[in-house]
Amino acid sequence: MLWEIDIYPAEGQPDRLGASMAADAADLGLPENITIRAAQGYLLEGDLTPPDVELAAQLFSDPVVERAVAAPVGDSRLAAPPADDLQPMCVLRKPGVMDPVSLSAENALKDLGLEVASVRTFRKYWVGGVRPDQLAVVAAKLLSNDAIERVVPGVLDPQQIAPGSSYAFERVEVPLRNFNDEQLENLSREGQLYLTLVEMQTIQQHFRELERDPTDVELETLAQTWSEHCSHKTLAGRIAYRDENGERRFENMLKETIFTATQELRKKWGDADWCASVFEDNAGVVHFNEQWNVVFKVETHNHPSALEPYGGANTGIGGVIRDPMGTGLGAKPVANTDVFCFAPPDTPADELPAGVLHPRRVMKGVVSGVRDYGNRMGIPTVNGAVLFDRRYLGNPLVFCGNVGMLPKNKTKKRVQPNDWIVALGGRTGRDGIHGATFSSAELTSESESLSGGAVQIGNPITEKIVLDVLLEARDRGLYNSVTDCGAGGFSSAVGEMGEDIGAEVWLDRAPLKYAGLSYTEIWISEAQERMVFSVPPEMWEAFSALCASENVEATIIGAFKPTGRLRLLYNEQEVADLDMRILHDGRPPVVRDAVFEPPPVVAWRLPTGPRQNHTHDLLRILGSLNVASKEWVIRQYDHEVQGGSVIKPLVGVQNDGPSDAAVVRPLLDSQQGLVISCGINPHFGDCDPYHMAASAIDEALRNCVAVGADPSRIAILDNFCWGYTDRPETLGALVRAALACHDLALELETPFISGKDSLNNEFSYDDANGARQTLSIPSTLLISAMGQVADVSTCVTMDLKRVGDLLYQIGATKNEMGGSHFSLIHKLAGGEPPQVDAPLAKRTFAALHRAIQQGLVAACHDLSEGGLSVAAAEMAFAGELGLKIELARAAPLLVVDHEQQAAAQNAMHTALLLFSESNTRFLCEVAPEHAVEFEEIMQGIPHASIGEVVAATQLEVVGLPSTENQNTSPPLVIDAALADLKEAWQAPLRWSSARR
C-alpha cells in the first residue's frame, strides 16, 4: 500500500517554505498578495499498518513546531486545506532524479523496525490569491523546475506514481559505415554526440577498416572522450592566430602559452622548484612543507546551472571537491572558493527570453546549491566573488574551487596490470546522461527540454563518507590509483586510468539506483559522488571491509587487463572492444582560425558638467552590484569549519568589511598558512583581453600579497569562460588572453599549475518577432591564486586600526579609465584598460611583503574596482575610523601625458587619482614610528604618504590646489559620513529570506 505523510508547520509557527516561495512571486509578475502554504510530503511504499505509519510520522515531524497528517494516498484527510480558498498542487522529482532524503529516511525507518519498500519525498503547496489562469505559471515557474521536477495539480492519487521499468538486454549497433555526410551529422546531433563532421568521418573510417559497425556504447565512448569538455580540443588544438603584431601558428595553443611558462619557470628554479605536479593530474600540486603538498583546482558548471541553478551549482561544488580527492592518491579538502557571474537581479521579468530563468532565482539557487553541498562536506568556503552583467542572462557562470592537502609520499599513483576496477560511493542512475557532450554545446531555449538528463542533484553525505574511507584507505596503502567520476562517468574515469594498460569492465555488476538502465547508460551516466579505484587483488578484502564499516558501497566492476584495449561486457556479452589508441590519440586535429583586431583607441573624457565634489560618484560605485557587500552570500557559507580560519572573508570592527583574501591554517598544529584569492574583471576584456588577463593576474596576486602571502610562492589557475570559439574573433580574444597569461606568469615568476576552460557560452532564442537572437557572455577569465605564509601571525587585514597612523599609497596611478567603474556608472566609453608593468609589479609585491613581514603595516587593502576612493572608504568604515586624504600628496604618483589643457587638467587629475583602476596599487596604514623604515623598504617603488587616520566619522578627501589661484584652499572632493558610505555599500544585496 502507498501511504502519504504531510508535515505542516504547527499552529503559530512560521511557514518558511511557503513564505519564501510567495516572496519570489513578484519576480514572475504574479500578484504580491499571493498566498502559498507548504507541506513537506513523504510517500511510503510497503506493507505497513496504521500504527506503523503513525510511528513513521513521529520520525518525520517535530511535535513542538510541526504537525503531521498521515493516511493512504488518496484519503480525504490529505485533501483538507490548511486554510480556505486554496488550491493544492504537488511537486515530485522526475524519475531518476536524486532524492537524498529518501535514502536516509528508508534507513531511519529500518532503525524503527519498519520494513518499507521505498520512500519518496515531495512538496505539497496550497495556493491562493491568484487567478485560475495564473496557476499554471505558479506551478511551472515558481514552485517547480521542469528540468528535474513535475507538478501534479490537486492532491496525489495512487495512479500518478508509476514505478520504473526493467531493462531487457539488446546489443545495439549503429550502421554508420554506409552513412553519407548528412546522415553522420544527423546522428551526431540527434544522438547528442556533438561531434563535428570530420570527427564523425574519422570514426566511420576507423570502423570501415575494422570491417564492422560500432555499437552504440562505442560511439558514445568516442564522443565523450573526444568532447570539448574532456579533451579541450579547441584550446589544445592547432590555431592560426593573427593580431596587430602579425601571425602565429600553434600546434597546441595551451601547451605553447600557459603550460610552457610553467615549464620554463621550473627549469629556471632548478633545485628550488616548488611545483610537484602541474597540468597532469585532476588538480595542480605544489609543495607546502616537509610532509605535505597542497593541491588546487577550480572548475565551472555553467550549463547545468543555467537550467537548474540549485542542482547545477550543487553538483558543481561536489564535482570539484572530487578533483583533489582524485589527485595523487587522494588529498583532503581544506577550503572551497566560489565565483559567480549573473545578470542583474533586478532584470524585469518581461525582458527575459524564453527558456531563461530569472537571474534572481538563478542567484538564489546557485548560492544555496553551493551552500548545501560545501557546508555538509565540512569544507570551509573562504573566498569568492559575485559579478553582474546583463550578458550573463542566458549563461550564468559558476566557478567552484577546492584546495586540498596531500601527503608528499602519496602524490604519485600508478595503476598496476590486473588491479580490480572498483566503483565507490553513489550508485549509478540515469542522471547526468550526456553531461560531457552537452556542456560543450551552445545552449538554446530548447535546451531545457532536450538536455534535462544532464542536470542533477547531489548527495553530499555520500561524498563525505567516500572521503572518510578514501583518506583511511590511502594511509593504509590499500589501492594503487584513484580518480573521480566526473564528466563522462565510468567511460572517462576508466578510460583515463586504463589508458596505458587496458581495461575490461563488466557493466552489469555496477550497482544501480533503480532497474532499467541499458549498458550504455551505465557506462556514460554522470551520477554524482562516485570514484573509481584501482585495487590490487590482495588488498580487496581489507578495502571492502573498510568501506562496509562506514556504510560505503564498493563494487568490483572490472579489471585493468594488460591488453591495450577497452572491452565492455554486459552479462558476459561483449558490447565494446576499442583500441585505447583510437580513444586517446585518434581524434583528428582541429584547426581553427583566430584573429584579434585591437579596437580603435578613443580618448577618455570626463563627463561634461561642473563636477567639484565626487561624493556622489563614490556612493554610486560602492552601491554598484559588483562592488557592493556580498555578506548575504558569505554568511550562508560555513567559512570556519575545520578550525583553521585566520583571515575571514569579512573583517573589521563589526566583522563586515571586505577582506582581500582568505587565510587558513590547514594543519591545526602548525602556524603555516594558505592564502586564497582571485582576480576577475570582464569589463577590461571589452577593451583588450590581453590587459584583462594581465589585470586579473595582478589582482589575484595583490589580493594575496595584501594579507601577507609570500609573492614568491603563489600558484595560480586559469578558468576561461568564452563565447562561441568557432568564430575567429572570439577565439582570437582567448588566444590574446592566453598570451598575457604566458608573459605575466614568466615575468612575475608565478606558475599556472592547472586550469580549465568552458567554451560556447552563448544562448540562442527566437525573439518576439521570430528572429533568431544570440546572447554571448563577455569573455571572462578567472584567475585563482593560492599563496603561502610561513607564520599566520604576520598576516594583516584591511580595516584601519589606529588614530594618528599614516596612509600610504603604493603604486602609480595612470590614465586607465577603460572598463573602470567610474566609466560604468557614467556610461562612458573609451579609455585605455589598466596595464601591468610586470617587472615593477614583481618588485612592489616583494617590497610590500617585506614590510608586512617586519610588522610595519597595520592595515593593507588593494586598489581595484573604484580605485583609491573605494579602497579608502572600505578601510575607513571597516575600521570605524575617520580618514583624511590630500590629493596633492597623491599627485606625484600620477603618471599622465602632458597634453591636456591646464584648466581641464585639475578636474581630470582629480578624477584619475580618485577613480582610476591602475594595477599594482595598495593602501597601507603605517604607524608614524614605522614610517622611516617603511619608506626605506619602498625605495624605488612609487609611494607616497597621502593622508592620516583621524578620530572622526567621516572620509574627507581634499582636492588638488587650484592652478589659477594658489591662495584659496582646495575644496573637499569627497566628504562623506562613514555610516552613509557603508550603507550605500551594504544596501543593494542585503537580502534576507525571512525579514522582508
Binding site: 517535530d62 531511519a108 557546508n375 565540512g378
Partner: protein
C-alpha cells in the same frame, strides 16, 4: 585519576570531529574518534571513556531534520549504554549538531511522561544557514562545562538552532532549574527570558536567547556555538586589531571537562 579519555563520536556527515578532538587533546584529555557503527555493533564500549562528545556536522545529512536520524539511533539502540554512562557520573557534550542530537534523543531534557518533548531546535528565524560570531553569557552554575565562565565570544554556524520550548511554563521551569545555562547576549545589557534580543545578537530567534541547555545533573551540555573554533588567538575575527590572550574563550569548556576528573 589519570587523564580522562574522551570519545569523539562520528557518524556519516559529522565534520567537526578533528578540530574538536584537537581541542580535547590540548585540554589534556586522551581522545579517540569512533564511528557510530562501532558502538551499534557492540564491539566498542562506552565504559572505557569518561567524556562522550558529539561534535558538529550534518549527521546523515540532517535529512528529515537536523540530528533526527542519529538521535533516533541513540534512543533506540544505545539508550541503556548512555544512561549507564550518565549514571556513572560521566560527562556528555554536544556541539551544534551534537546539541540537536542530544535534545532530540531525549537524553538532555526529561520528557516527564508527556507525548510532546519539552523543547526542540528548529529553523533560524532568518530561514537560512548563517555563520557569525556571537557574544554569550552564562546563567547559573549548574553546567560542569561552563564553570567559572561568565562570557564567551564564539561563532555559530547553523540553520536549525532556534530553541523553542513546548510551552511558556516549560521554558520557565527549565530556567528556574538552571537548565538554560548559556544565552546569547549583547554588549550593553544582560538578556532575560522575557526580553528576547534582536537579530543578530540572538542569531536564530531562540526563546529566552538560549544558546545552550544542560540536563538536571549539569553533566550533559548541548550548545549551538562552536567552542572548538576559538581555542587560539588567530581564530578570532578581530585578532589583527584587538589585544587578545593567546588562548581562545572556547578552551575553557574543554578544560572544565578535563578538570572535572582531576
Amino acid at each position: 585519576m589519570p587523564t580522562p579519555r574522551a570519545l569523539i563520536l562520528r557518524a556519516p556527515g559529522t565534520n567537526c570531529d578533528l578540530e574538536t578532538e584537537f581541542a580535547f587533546q590540548r585540554a589534556g584529555a586522551q581522545t579517540k574518534r569512533l564511528h557510530i557503527n562501532r558502538l551499534l555493533e557492540g564491539g566498542a564500549c562506552l565504559e572505557h571513556f569518561q567524556i562522550l562528545c558529539l561534535p558538529g556536522g550534518f549527521s546523515y545529512g540532517d535529512d528529515i531534520a537536523a540530528g533526527r536520524i542519529l538521535a533516533n539511533q541513540l534512543q533506540l539502540r544505545l539508550k541503556d549504554e548512555i544512561e549507564k554512562f550518565v549514571a556513572a557520573g560521566k560527562l556528555i557534550l554536544g556541539i551544534c549538531n551534537g546539541f540537536q542530537i542530544l535534545l532530540k534523543s531525549g537524553f538532555l531534557l526529561a520528557e516527564n511522561g508527556e507525548t510532546c518533548p519539552p523543547a526542540t531546535l528548529t529553523w533560524n528565524d532568518t530561514g537560512q544557514f548563517e555563520d557569525r560570531w556571537t557574544l554569550l553569557k552564562t546563567a547559573g552554575s549548574k553546567s560542569v562545562f561552563l564553570r567559572g565562565i561568565e562570557t564567551m565570544y564564539l561563532p555559530v554556524a547553523h540553520a536549525e538552532g532556534k530553541f523553542v520550548a513546548r510551552s511558556a511554563d516549560t521554558l520557565a521551569a527549565l530556567e528556574s532549574d538552571g537548565q538554560l545555562p548559556l544565552r546569547y547576549a549583547c554588549k550593553a545589557n544582560a538578556p532575560s527570558v522575557n526580553g528576547n534580543l534582536d537579530f543578530p545578537d540572538n542569531p536564530n530567534g531562540s526563546q529566552g536567547n538560549v544558546a545552550g541547555v544542560c540536563d538536571a545533573t549539569g553533566r550533559i551540555l548541548g550548545l549551538m556555538p562552536h567552542p572548538e573554533r576559538y581555542i587560539e588567538r588567530t581564530q578570532h575575527p578581530r585578532w589583527t586589531r584587538e589585544n587578545l590572550p593567546p588562548e581562545g574563550d572556547g578552551m575553557a569548556v574543554f578544560r572544565n571537562a578535563v578538570r572535572y576528573f582531576e
